[in-house]
């Protein structure tokens, strides 16, 4: 399906929004691979992150995983309700399961990421 999502190899997705912002979440593949989600640590609004740097943690019964910023920028909003309803990530990872909104320092960085077919090829390999 054609869409405007871009993916990091570390399984985060990012979608450009109006006003120069972008929404970030984790892929359905990542949610399925983690399973048994128990905890999510969100960053503080206003935090500056660099591409590839951890902006939060997601924990399953088995392990703790970092979530990495797909692009550099400032966290301008977090989905504060999500940590208390992690099942949303399984039901709607690309919609209601969004995690943070980021104001990219350089929107051109999105071009470094994978489009959906390339990401899907990566996780199937």
């Amino acid at each position: 399906m054609a869409d405007d999502l871009k993916f990091a190899k570390t399984h985060e997705w990012i979608r450009p929004e109006a006003g120069g912002l972008a929404t970030v979440g984790i892929s359905s593949y990542a949610v399925e691979a983690l399973t048994d989600l128990v905890f999510m640590q969100l960053p503080a609004v206003g935090k500056k992150v660099k591409a590839g740097e951890s902006f939060g943690e997601i924990e399953s019964v088995k392990a703790v995983s970092d979530m990495y910023a797909p692009v550099s920028g400032e966290i301008v909003e977090v989905n504060a309700a999500l940590p208390n309803q992690l099942e949303t990530l399984g039901k709607d990872p690309y919609g209601a399961g969004w995690i943070v909104r980021i104001k990219p320092d350089d929107p051109a960085e999105l071009a470094n990421l994978l489009d959906r077919p390339a990401y899907e090829a990566l996780v199937k390999s």
Binding site: T35, D36, V38, F39, Q41, E57, E59, S60, V61, K62, V64
Partner: protein, 387 residues
């Protein structure tokens, strides 16, 4: 250890039923098939089916076998009756203090051989099998005892949960049903299960009722599939190593490499019953490391094993510091969400004066401080059977 992991006779079953395979202690094993929480709850509420064929299985036979193990293990072996199993430590006298705990193990006396000589079975951890076998072989007497590593010739399945015994009995003839139903905890027998000869013991590592079966390697798939088919309609699920770990943690059972390590004080981690010193008797026992174990018993350790309960689901992990009033007073040895309880738990070694139930502590979980309190072990105790 070879570079490619070993596999059990059930590896293709696991791979073709959604098993997420990992290299665990040199074995290609399933961590989970679906969700660890769902598998865990199936074992608590109905039954779980586990491939534990990676565990080391040793056969020790011969007229001198009991006396030999009696001289090597921390538990009495000479007086084990046929059909009884005992939990023991395997120790050597290596190390600066003259004690190295090589493993914990279960020793079962099987029916004597036709010529009347005793036969013992020993189950050891996969991660320690090579060094335990090497140690035991180095200690073998010139004659009278043989030791065979039967790990690859056999398979071991655990069926655990309130329905486990009933499901297995459904695959036995009346003779087998009678033997298994009357089997007390830590007792073993033989029975024909799904048409295959099996060593059956009322043992496990989950805190549930259940049995462990040892069958010939070439019977493993047939027995596994028969149990799976008979149990699935009643809620049985195949369970991976993930659920095995959360189940044993909830049940407060130590795991070698975590609660129990080479230089552990067994008396500080609640394993007093695994050590028979016989200090008060006229003839104290002799086995490797006994002197240091006697010293440990006489001179209680500063840190002891406790259970910690958290309000949150966020788990402390091995190595997380335990802190009281800004001072580190202990360290987590295992931690996870406890699926049957709905919150995180951990086992930890903490300073003895802070080990009383109800003591409030903080646990540093990465950057965050998680409040917890000391609680008695086990975290979970199965309901008493209905009579």
């Amino acid at each position: 250890m070879s570079s490619s992991p070993l596999s059990t006779p059930l590896v293709h079953w696991h791979e073709s039923h959604g098993g997420r395979m990992v290299d665990f202690a040199g074995w290609w094993m399933p961590v989970q098939y679906s969700s660890i929480v769902d598998e865990h709850l199936a074992a608590r509420q109905a039954a779980g089916l586990f491939d534990v064929s990676h565990m080391g299985r040793l056969a020790i036979e011969g007229p001198g076998s009991q006396a030999w193990l009696e001289s090597l293990l921390t538990r009495h072996v000479a007086d084990i009756e046929v059909g009884r199993a005992r939990y023991t430590l395997v120790t050597s006298d290596a190390g600066p203090a003259g004690l190295t705990i090589l493993d914990d193990a279960l020793v079962t006396r099987e029916p004597d051989a036709p010529n009347g000589t005793p036969r013992l079975a020993m189950v050891v951890n996969a991660s320690n099998r090579d060094r335990v076998v090497a140690w035991l072989v180095s200690q073998l007497p010139p004659e009278g005892v043989t030791l065979h590593d039967r790990t690859s010739a056999t398979a071991m399945l655990a069926v655990q949960g309130p329905l486990a015994v009933d499901i297995v009995c459904g695959l036995c003839n009346s003779n087998g049903v009678a033997r298994i139903q009357s089997l007390g905890n830590y007792r073993a027998t033989r029975a024909t299960v799904a048409g295959h000869d099996a060593a059956v013991s009322r043992t496990g590592y989950t805190g549930e009722d259940g049995v462990e079966l040892v069958v010939a390697a070439d019977a493993a798939v047939a027995v596994w599939e028969a149990i799976h088919a008979a149990g699935s309609p009643r809620g049985l699920r195949p369970c991976g190593l993930g659920a095995r770990d959360t189940l044993r943690l909830e049940a407060g059972m130590p795991l070698y490499g975590h609660e129990l390590v080479a230089d552990s004080d067994p008396f500080a981690i609640g394993l007093d019953l695994a050590v028979n010193l016989d200090a008060a008797s006229g003839t104290p026992r002799r086995f490797p490391g006994r002197e240091e174990l006697a010293r440990m018993k006489a001179d209680p350790a500063a840190m002891i094993r406790v259970g910690l309960a958290f309000d949150s689901k966020r788990a402390a992990r091995e190595g997380s510091p335990v802190v009281v009033a800004g001072t580190t007073v202990g360290m987590v040895t295992s931690g996870s969400l406890a699926p049957a309880l709905g919150h995180a738990v951990a086992m930890a070694l903490v300073a003895r004066h802070l080990a009383g139930a109800g003591t409030a502590v903080d646990v540093l979980v990465r950057d965050a401080v998680q409040p917890a309190r000391v609680v008695p072990l086990p975290f979970y105790r199965r309901p008493a059977p209905r009579s």
